[in-house]
Symmetry: C2
């Protein structure tokens, strides 16, 4: 299991529209092979800043299965124009967890 993490910086003043677009875009990701769950969180301290967390079964499910899919083109169209700068996406594996 792998966690995809990206801090999303949204162009000033576009956060509300971004949230609406994300509401649509998330329908794409939840249907992908290897998708487990996701969360979009708004930063308390910095305006127009979000944290996107997506759990995948494997890194390939994200990097190949999703990013090389037709559906990713739709995701890009919905979301990528909101970002400035373009986010750095990294993957993490849990080494301790309590919940």
């Amino acid at each position: 299991m792998i966690l995809e993490k990206a801090v999303l910086n949204i162009k000033p003043g576009q956060s509300e529209v971004f949230e609406l677009a994300f509401g649509e875009a998330q329908k794409i990701i939840v249907a992908m092979k290897g998708y487990i769950n996701h969360d979009l969180l708004k930063c308390v301290e910095k305006s127009d800043t979000y944290l996107l967390l997506v759990q995948w079964e494997t890194i390939e499910d994200h990097e190949i299965g999703f990013r090389e899919s037709q559906q990713y083109q739709e995701w890009k169209k919905l979301l990528h124009h909101f970002y400035e700068p373009f986010p750095i996406v990294l993957h993490y594996t849990s080494i301790v967890a309590t919940s």
Copy 2:
């Protein structure tokens, strides 16, 4: 409910010892008022890089209840010397969630 997020950059070569120290330190945090759960994750792409996620009931539980506690002094002693640079800690609130 609030998510505390910090990317932790560990001094080169100290990751293994850091993980051991974190194993001790997490005993402190789980006992604090307002603590819900936490996860420490290791970055796939960047060595000596971790993601710390802690869920708190309120931001005050973290910033006042924990950071102004005696227990925080112990947490600092165990962990802060591993960080370079010192991490930027931000808080996020979920706006969408599926799991």
